[in-house]
Amino acid sequence: MKYSAARILWEGLTGHKGWKPVWRDPAPRPHYDIVIIGGGGHGLATAHYLAKVYGQRKIAVLEKGWIGGGNVGRNTTIIRSNYLLDGNEPFYEFSLKLWEGLEQDLNYNAMVSQRGIMNLIHSDAQRDAFRRRGNAMILNGADAELLTTEQVRNEAPFLNFENARFPIKGALMQRRGGTVRHDAVAWGFARSADSHGVDIIQNCEVTGFKIENGRVKGVETSRGFIGAGKVGVAVAGNSSKVMAMAGMRLPIESHVLQAFVSEGLKPIIPGVITFGAGHFYVSQSDKGGLVFGGDIDGYNSYAQRGNSPVVEDVAEGGMALMPIIGRARLLRMWGGIMDMSMDGSPFIDRTHIEGLYFNGGWSYGGFKATPASGHAFAHLLATDTPHDTAKAYRLDRFQSGAMIDEKGAGAQPNLH
């Protein structure tokens, strides 16, 4: 069923009786060519691109809960491609370009809203670093602009420019950055994948792999054994847990990242504003809530909730940057579990087990990567070669010395 203005008009006139569920609820078949574990944004995107771009058939997505119930529904919905390193920037720019065409590709309103992202500058050294980053972005075909203090003032006059410790001296602006309605991303990819014949199987938890002679033959699940030619794992947050069932240890720790939403307010924040020096970032949702967050809590966690010191730290960052936030009441706060990798960058790679592929380690940057991650993972699953933009995301990069350490923090996941 294609969505269109004419369709909405027709349904409006006929009592909205023609809308049907947009994906099926099939029982698992005994065997698929490709099984994707994880019905989150990345898994569903992988299924969509596998079916639509790479012409694969007989695909299943297995989800232990319900689709969109994991991290794709727990993030702060920001899209951007403001990376520095060669291993990352082409990939995230590819992702941003896919976001720009996503709604037409999916025939689904994901509310892609390119209102810009500003990284604030507080010192000469930071300006130099951001100028370099902006140049790296432009070299890779992205957009970047260095704003003066006055230009930042025009964009966001409510900021505290005279903070004694971190006065605002400008910003790196990416105007094509912005936000996307995260649930709609999961639903849009699911609807498209389903319409291309992908079986989306919910309430189906993978409990083990069947591996014979170094080759994966299928997965044991709570709904019985499902045979598979190839298995792709996209379960960021729980990657270590799932891959341990295949006997693998990963360069990943699971950490909790908190996020916050205020009550709905009239439009005040034009785009996304990041205050790296104060560990705070903020945007405003289409419903009017201020969506904000800060750092990870910093210790291993699978709890999906954080502790009060980080809440306090985020609140302090918010008050330092934009004192008006003190008048807003907090509506909700929650935590999501991140695959924090050893260099802060992700993995899209084969494993040493034939037919088993891994996608994970997204740290706190998985949402913006959703379409490119799905596209690149689909490319890898379909062709057995890495996608051009994802060649650096190898599992063995710590062994070969080719790590992608954007922050230069070393093998210390809680510092990325």
Binding site: I252, G298, Y299, N300, N307, P309, M342, F398, P413
Partner: protein
Amino acid sequence: MLINHPLLGPRDAQEFTYLGDASLLNRPDGMAGGAAQAFHDYLYLRDNPTGEHRELWYHEQGDRSWLIVTRNVSTHEILKVELASDVALSQGAKP
């Protein structure tokens, strides 16, 4: 979180910095065969389990001692706190 320091009693976890899995105490022998692989595994790979996790915390804003905290990472409940030096000695490290 409150960490019950063996010498100082309950202390706010904010006084500590976090390093990670307590297996980092067991540094491989750099002179042994296969040291490159052993150091890769030591430095970069983690078990990252759910439930009980033994981990290293450093009392930076306190007495600068290293602790091994056994914590349930699914609930954040702290189950046991030991001085890392005591654990290392009991594993045969020389004082």
